[in-house]
Amino acid sequence: MRLLIVLSIIFAHGACDIADYYAKRAKLAEAENLLTVGGNYPLDHKETIVNRCLMQHKYRELDYAFDNPQYFNCSHHFFVYKNKMRESKVYKIIKNMPKGAALHVHDMALLGPDYVMNLTYMDNLYFCFKPDPVLSGNHLFLQFANQLPNKTCDTWQLISDARRDAKNVTEFDFNLRKHFTLVVDDPDTAYPAITDTWDAFMNYFTTIIPLVTYRPVWEQYFYDALKKYREDNLMYIEVRSVLPNLYELDGSTYDQIVTAKSYKKVLSRFIKDYPDFEGAKIIFAPSRYVGNAELDAYIETARSLKNQVPEIFAGFDLVGQEDKGKPLIDFVPKLLQANDLNFFFHAGETDWYGTQTDGNLYDAILLGTKRIGHAYALTKHPLLMKEVVEKDIGLEINLISNSVLSLVKDLRNHPLNTYVANGMPVVLSSDDPGAWEAEPASDDFYVAFVGASSRLSDLSLLKALGENSLKYSALEPTRKAAALRKLNFQWKRFIDNFDCSKY
């Protein structure tokens, strides 16, 4: 309403003199600013001082880029600027800032290739290569076992033997590491189109899954992931998991509930060690490339999770490239029957407008999704935008993911700009940071701040994004309130201890 009033005042009389003109102009800018995410958060005295420091660096960075656009990071591929970006003062401030929660991360890509490389030094790890059916080069398969595995390939070898026999271990490891990351030197050549990126991305998962689902690895992996997320100043995460079956050296496997229980076990251990960490929940998110029969099994699993591990179970989702997978509409009758579950659907992670993928947005909302994963296509749907605002459905925005996975080249064209400007309920997350060697939250926060929001957006935006991440979490009301208090406390500490000269 306020905006309308301001506008009608502005246009009540024509432009008189230039001072009057500037006054109108300022009013208009103010009206727009009030609309933005965080735009109605007044900063207190201390925050204003921090903001001055932050904005001084932001302006310097952006104004340089405006004059020298070839050096503007966010218009290039993430792989090109990822290391350079971390030198930025704005980045360093964001890194130290409490950022709340990561609500959209997949468990198989929580940690990056350096961590994974360490796992390859463990005993009993076999590997083999097979020519990749889609991409050029060989595909790497891994398996922990107490005897030679007998599936997939016939050239299994202990990785420790191969490394020992390698002429040059550094080179051996260098080549091995390439299989644990999408990062390459020349991404535009390596990934000319979205299909190529997704093929590589899917390969990443087939390589990683047997490595981390070895039960002893799994428990340590999740513990170390929590540690890494906490170090990036997050206090809570919601993990989308296919709930892989964990296995032992002898090849015996466990059912999915065991995986969920191991999550719970690790989480309690972690919270005991780091009591300031609020916790984690899982969203059961199996593959969308299935038929209705498998969906029945999914729903059954989700229900038993809800019964057996209610405190860490948040809800249900389906994953995999939307353009290629089944649209939600195929599953609607069954999903309507399953409305005892909370849904956190991926939807509209696509550039295609008016296609079945794009249509997933209708179904996600009609099915009562609590949040929408990506919602990249939502700006093209004004009615759904309105629904999202009315129902206060959180939009999980993953900027770097959208750029790496070929939806958008220049982040200034990312719809987040519009969502922020319209004060939409957005949260930032990092999707699969390990796969592209991003930080759990800082990298995405940084590119959102300098590349996908107004030059004028300031500390208020960052603060609001942090708060949103808890507000739209699946935490129970009392825990949510406690978490917000905790964030507020962390935020105050960050502000109180802020020293501009350190940056």
């Binding site: 070839q70 407008y353 009609l366 004004p382």
Partner: protein, 498 residues
């Protein structure tokens, strides 16, 4: 939140009823249909013939989109478009007017090369290297500075031994897309530099009065051939020269254009003519801009029927912001209509982005590009309420580095929100595109929803008349002519079934 709702308050959504299983599909279709209805042209009624034609065009559109969706083809312009059935239909479709075209880029490259064969005995070239080229028509060897000797172009052409190869090479200088291999790390400023270089070459050829006459006449033919019946041309008015070196005053060009158009209309009576939007460079001094506004006043006084208004041109990121010229604009605001470029940038919160605010506050009649507008909900609602048309140039924005994949172009949202949009082509010859067909095609197939149909195309054409600077009487006439042409187009489509 509230204000957001207002910004898009033109949407009326159903109640918050809980969706029962049996209602699900109904509810879903209600939303989808409502979205289509509320989009640009969504409520346009089609008659029986049009509905039949719509079936045809939509069959081709769906086939094309679905194939691209399956193959995950990256979008491409140019030759591929011509093979498309949808493009072929759009090409024949009456498209109304082109409201955002710069004067130097109205004539396609092949015709430009043909022009270099005219007055051959007097066309000198300064061609020091592969990248630089300048023309001058003259009785004697030109005396203007040139790092090498001025040579007759015909001499160079003959010496090359292969006229065709020579002309093919020459084309590079007249258009933009073929200039260099695309370098992903080339900055937008470099792209504009290349673009402005093309401009200089073209300008050096068409400042010669006899060539300009042919240039403009052929450009009108080109528009007519693309089923475009009226054009608004952004131009600074050049001082044309004669072979003896004498130079005309700038107003001469305006009269020349009027005469040529009158002549053209004699043989093409359904063509509606043109108007000028006079321009100055946005990097220019205040004094230069003042002079340009004075020229606009002169034109308005002398030949009001071909005068639309005033604008500033050139890359917005590098040019001076509109606020720099407030005193000049304020002094002219009661006499001159503005048609400002605004927000042709992907920066947000910078001076180029804020040009949008000023264009609107200065009462612009239309907004050139408005690329950044989507990021400004306050301005969006003003534009909607005050019905300020946005001149969208999809191909241009893509070629000039604003957006790599046109599916990310804000036009998609403008259409969904039923914003007042017209399509144009900005610099068609530089991009080797038709005056309007390629832009219509790309907008229809690649930017707009797969669901949007003939209603959108017709509305875009009608918008170009509605939002033109024509007076009401001329608009009526143009609408009448349009409707006749449109019916003929529809009839032909349904009888020949393609």
């Amino acid at each position: 939140m509230n204000a957001y709702t207002i910004a898009f308050a033109f949407c009326l959504f159903g109640t918050n009823a809980r969706f029962l299983p049996e209602d699900y599909n109904k509810q879903r279709n209600v939303i989808i249909n409502e979205e289509i209805l509320q989009s640009l042209g969504g409520r346009l009624a089609l008659d029986e013939d049009e509905l039949a034609a719509n079936e045809i065009i939509m069959k081709w559109k769906r086939e094309e989109v679905d194939k691209k969706f399956r193959d995950k083809q990256p979008e491409e312009l140019g030759d591929r478009a011509e093979k498309s059935k949808v493009y072929q239909i759009i090409r024949k479709m009456p498209k109304g007017a082109a409201l955002h075209i710069h004067s130097s880029y109205m004539l396609d490259v092949n015709s430009m090369i043909a022009l270099t064969h005219e007055h051959e005995d007097n066309l000198y070239a300064c061609y020091p290297n592969d990248n630089d080229l300048k023309f001058q028509f003259s009785n004697t060897v030109p005396t203007e500075p040139c790092p090498v000797n001025w040579v007759l172009l015909s001499e160079l052409r003959n010496k090359s031994g292969n006229t065709e190869a020579f002309d093919e090479e020459l084309k590079r200088h007249f258009c933009f897309t073929a200039v260099a291999k695309k370098d992903p790390y080339e900055s937008i400023n470099d792209v504009w530099k290349r673009f402005e270089k093309v401009h200089k070459v073209i300008k050096s050829l068409i400042t010669f009065r006899p060539v300009r006459e042919k240039f403009f006449y052929k450009a009108l033919e080109k528009l007519y051939d693309d089923n475009v019946m009226y054009v608004e041309i952004r131009s600074g008015l050049n001082s044309l020269y004669e072979l003896d070196g004498s130079v005309h005053e700038r107003m001469y060009m305006a009269r020349l254009y009027k005469n040529i158009t009158d002549q053209f209309i004699e043989t093409h009576p359904d063509f509606m003519g043109f108007k000028f939007i006079l321009t100055a460079y946005r990097a220019a001094s205040n004094e230069k801009v003042r002079e340009a506004i004075d020229l606009a006043r002169d034109l308005k006084r002398e030949i009001p029927e071909i005068f639309a208004g005033f604008d500033l041109v050139g890359q917005e990121d590098l040019g001076r912001p509109l606020t720099d010229f407030l005193p000049e604009f304020a002094a002219a605001t009661n006499e001159i209509d503005f048609y400002f470029h605004g927000g042709e940038t992907n920066w947000f919160g910078t001076s180029s982005d804020e040009n949008l605010v000023d264009a609107i506050l200065l009462g612009t009649k239309r907004i050139g590009h408005g690329y950044a507008l989507l990021k400004h909900p306050g301005l969006m609602s003003i534009v909607k309420q005050r019905d300020i048309p946005i001149e969208v140039n999809v191909v241009s924005n893509s070629v000039l580095s604003l957006v790599h994949d046109v599916r990310n172009h804000p036009l998609a949202s403008y259409l969904a929100l039923d914003m007042p949009v017209v399509l144009s082509s900005d610099d068609p010859s530089a991009f080797r595109t038709d005056p309007l067909s390629h832009d219509f095609y790309l907008a229809f197939v690649s930017v707009a929803s797969r669901h949007y149909d003939l209603r959108l195309l017709k509305t875009l054409a009608l918008n170009s008349i509605k939002y033109s600077a024509l007076d009401d009487k001329s608009k009526d006439k143009m609408n009448t002519v349009f409707n006749e042409n449109w019916s003929r187009f529809i009839k032909k489509m349904i009888t020949t079934c393609d």
